[in-house]
């Protein structure tokens, strides 16, 4: 009998295939149940409503109204909380996890050691699994990216591997499925993690043609065009791998003790100090200077100066505000075409006003000396039509095949691109800018569509990979892109 294990369900969900109909149905039920529990289906739900008023109304009464529910279907299972430096971390779906340290390494205290603490304990029981945080800093980094569902707006598209948005703009955290890597309860140092994916500031934006600007190092974004001709840019989730790298700074000086002082005795120019000074420059080490580092390290000033002013491009807000009444200028329905609950009272007042102006006046008729009054009110006849406007949406999920890596090891990344909208998408260009510590393994990329693959150097002397899809992505259609990177 084919079972439906969680990992299998994840895989089946990704592959859109199952071994049998029964298994597939059961998996779908499992997924729906899991999604309802952990709130996987969160995110703004947009329902377009068209309210048509009767024929006697004027044109102002016929309008399209978009309703946006701001509150997501929130998760309902919450458990213990962990105090952190940057805010509470709440554990979701607690699963007991035992770490058998003794299976990995035999730790023997030295003869003089007084080992009484739990630094190298044999068995550690930890319950915080599937953490979510709301802090702004890199607080929690999940490892591996093995089938992690998430629910926060940053991953509202339903990423299978939602990394914790370690740098925090979206507060995304993995929810639902067991994390293979348990974060250190004593803290997290973001410098020990190698992250890739997402969209760091400045945000990526599409320009004329296939150009995408604002793609920083570690960014993974895609540009696509909907059937209505709109061009959008969407990022992927963020994947972090524990891969600390250490360096050392070496200095050689003369010894104070040992009578072998490095002095100027053998120098040709006799005008140097006669005394021995171990701080004398240029005696022990010549020509080794710091600018080597300065050539390769980019300071933050360059980043600030590069895309200055780009985020404010194409903002049409003031121009729209000029054309509407002042009282309606701040309404979301006027600015963005989306109706929010807070604006409903104001809009209802305006709706009534529009109705009053459209009501027919009473007609008074006198017949044979008797007065008969007829009142015509036709605004009660209304028709409600609900439909969804054609709108495309692209979902990018990024996962890594391992949660940690030593320098020299290879990490495989997988990008899953899906059209989760209700119209085909075209002109899809996916780009991934690798960090300086990730080296693309040549000829390792594979994609299931006929995408044109190209590379270029980015600002960190690493590669920026670009896939240009040759075909449009139909509704519900998805593709996978896989590539390998060597950790430097």
């Amino acid at each position: 009998m084919t079972r439906c294990l969680p990992v299998d369900r994840m895989r089946n969900f990704i592959n859109h295939r199952s071994n049998s109909v029964a298994t597939r149905d059961r998996c779908i039920l499992w997924m729906i149940g899991l999604a309802l529990i952990v709130g996987c289906a969160t995110g703004p739900k947009q329902i377009r409503l068209s309210k048509t008023v009767g024929p006697a109304t004027n044109a102002a009464a016929e309008r399209n109204v978009a309703v946006e529910t701001s509150k997501p279907y929130n998760s309902s299972v919450r458990a213990t909380s962990m105090p952190t430096a940057n805010g509470p971390i709440q554990a979701v779906v607690p699963v007991t996890y035992e770490e058998r340290f003794s299976d990995q390494a035999a730790v023997q205290p030295s003869a003089s050691a007084r080992i009484g603490d739990d630094s190298f304990g044999d068995t550690i029981t930890a319950t915080p699994v599937g953490l979510r945080h709301g802090g702004p800093l890199r607080q929690m980094v999940s490892g591996g990216g093995h089938g992690i569902a998430c629910q926060t707006p940053g991953c509202a598209n339903g990423c299978m591997s939602c990394q914790p948005n370690a740098f925090g703009d979206q507060g995304c955290g993995p929810v639902g499925v067991m994390l293979p890597m348990i974060p250190n309860p004593q803290g997290i140092d973001g410098n020990e993690f190698l992250c890739n994916g997402g969209d760091q500031l400045p945000k990526a934006r599409a320009r004329v043609g296939d150009q995408i600007i604002g793609v920083e190092v570690e960014d993974t974004v895609a540009r696509y065009t909907t059937v209505r001709g709109e061009t959008h840019v969407t990022p992927s989730n963020r994947v972090c791998v524990y891969a600390p790298r250490f360096g050392s700074v070496r200095r050689v000086t003369g010894a104070d003790i040992g009578e072998i002082a490095v002095g100027p005795q053998k120098m040709i120019n006799r005008d140097s100090p006669i005394g021995v000074d171990h701080d004398e420059p240029g005696l022990a080490v010549t020509g080794r200077d710091l600018p080597i580092r300065n050539d390769l390290v980019r300071g933050p000033d360059a980043m600030r100066a590069r895309d200055r002013g780009v985020p404010v491009e194409n903002v049409l807000q003031p121009r729209m505000a000029e054309d509407v009444l002042a009282i309606l200028a701040n309404l979301s329905i006027m600015n963005r075409g989306i109706l929010i609950k807070d604006d409903l009272p104001i809009i209802l007042i305006g709706d009534q006003a529009a109705t009053i102006w459209s009501v027919d006046q009473e007609v008074v008729v006198a017949v044979a000396g008797e007065v008969a009054a007829a009142v015509t009110r036709d605004q009660t006849a209304r028709e409600l039509v609900v439909y969804e406007l054609p709108n495309g949406r692209l979902r990018i999920c990024k996962v890594a095949d391992r949660g940690d890596a030593l320098p020299g090891e290879v990490v495989t990344f997988l990008l899953r691109v899906d059209n989760v909208g209700d119209s085909p998408l075209s002109d899809i260009v996916l780009t991934d800018s690798l960090s300086a510590r990730l080296q693309y393994v040549p000829d390792s990329q594979k994609n299931s569509v006929n995408a044109e693959f190209s590379t270029s150097m980015n600002d960190d002397n690493s590669l920026r990979m670009t896939w240009k899809f040759a075909q449009e992505l139909k509704v519900g259609e998805g593709t996978t892109i896989e590539f390998k990177c060597k950790v430097r």
């Binding site: 294990l5 299998d8 592959n15 859109h16 295939r17 770490e99 990995q104 390494a105 730790v107 030295s110 050691a113 190298f120 093995h146 089938g147 499925v177 067991m178 890597m181 004593q186 803290g187 997290i188 140092d189 973001g190 410098n191 020990e192 993690f193 190698l194 524990y242 600390p244 790298r245 250490f246 360096g247 050392s248 700074v249 070496r250 200095r251 050689v252 003369g254 010894a255 009578e259 072998i260 701080d279 420059p281 710091l290 580092r293 390769l296 390290v297 933050p300 949660g403 940690d404 030593l406 020299g408 899953r416 960090s435 300086a436 510590r437 299931s448 960190d460 996978t480 060597k486 430097r488």
Partner: protein, 285 residues
């Protein structure tokens, strides 16, 4: 508060208040700089460090309290006074040297038998402790010994299962040993690299990144600009004390450590929910 009186009286009252305000501002700025001088940092976060690559600490003209020339134990001891769960934590380190170089740590004044040349010495060292270790079987200098010290001044925060797999590498190059044997003092400061300013150089666990600086620069300060300093290695001692009473000073009080015999090479994935330990990537539809 309303001040009555003539203009001279008001000036007499206002000037001391202005001076007090100025002193408070100066004290605040000075305190900010002083926080930034400690390893382990002035920022109240676990892995953070004001000495570790923050723009303030890298600013020119900063007067730092500590340097690599500080007495052994001083920098690490100051770190213990700072924020964070560092006290009592055994930080895994891995000693590696050229060729058949062997390392051994001391226990109660006696160096342990060195590990086989193929097996690097892995040990857990206390943050803030100063450990004397012995280097033998140096290629080209067989029969000679060096007794460097290592001072762990900060720690890492790995997830579970990964503490031993990702130790702090203590790489001693042949140049270090040669210089030490010739009577020079070699100071190495190990730092955790900032990934945002990482150098795009291929490395392996057996080979690290080494930056040579001139003698007039402080390696601790330079390492602070590149990341978070985590250890200081001082290589220069070639002769242990002969008198028994000098041994405690030579071993810096015999701080405890733990030996890690078989470091983990690979950690299998186990999510605890399925029989499949390593899920494969899904195939393209």
């Amino acid at each position: 508060m309303r001040i009555n009186g003539n203009a001279a009286t008001r000036r007499l009252i206002l000037w001391p208040r202005l001076l007090v305000t100025l002193c408070a501002v100066v004290a605040t700025v000075d305190t900010t700089h002083a926080w930034a001088q400690f390893p382990g940092g002035g920022l109240p976060r676990p892995g953070g460090s004001a000495l570790s690559g923050s723009p303030n600490s890298a600013a020119a003209g900063l007067h730092r309290i500590h340097s690599a020339d500080s007495l052994p134990g001083e920098v690490g001891g100051a770190r213990l006074q700072r924020w964070g769960a560092v006290a009592g934590y055994y930080q895994p380190v891995a000693f590696r040297g050229p060729g058949s170089t062997a390392f051994s740590l001391g226990v109660d004044g006696v160096f342990q038998p060195p590990m086989p040349s193929q097996t690097p010495l892995h040990a857990g060292l206390l943050v803030g402790g100063v450990y004397r270790f012995r280097v033998t079987a140096i290629p080209g200098f067989e029969g000679e010994e060096i007794f460097p010290t290592i001072e762990v001044i900060d720690r890492t925060y790995p997830p579970h299962h990964l503490a031993v797999r990702h130790p702090i590498p203590i790489h001693l190059e042949l140049d270090d040993l040669r210089d030490a044997l010739s009577g020079r003092m070699v100071t190495r400061v190990i730092y955790l690299e900032d990934p945002t300013s990482a150098v795009p150089i291929d490395t392996t666990p057996e080979s690290g990144i080494t930056l040579d600086i001139p003698p007039y620069q402080d390696p601790l300060h330079v390492a602070d600009t590149l990341g978070k300093p985590v250890a200081i290695i001082r290589i220069g001692s070639v002769t242990p004390p002969t008198h028994q009473s000098l041994l405690p000073q030579f071993f810096f009080g015999y701080p405890p450590w733990v030996r890690i015999d078989s470091p983990v090479q690979d950690v299998p994935f186990d999510d605890g929910l399925s029989e499949q330990t390593q899920p494969d990537f899904p195939a393209a539809p």
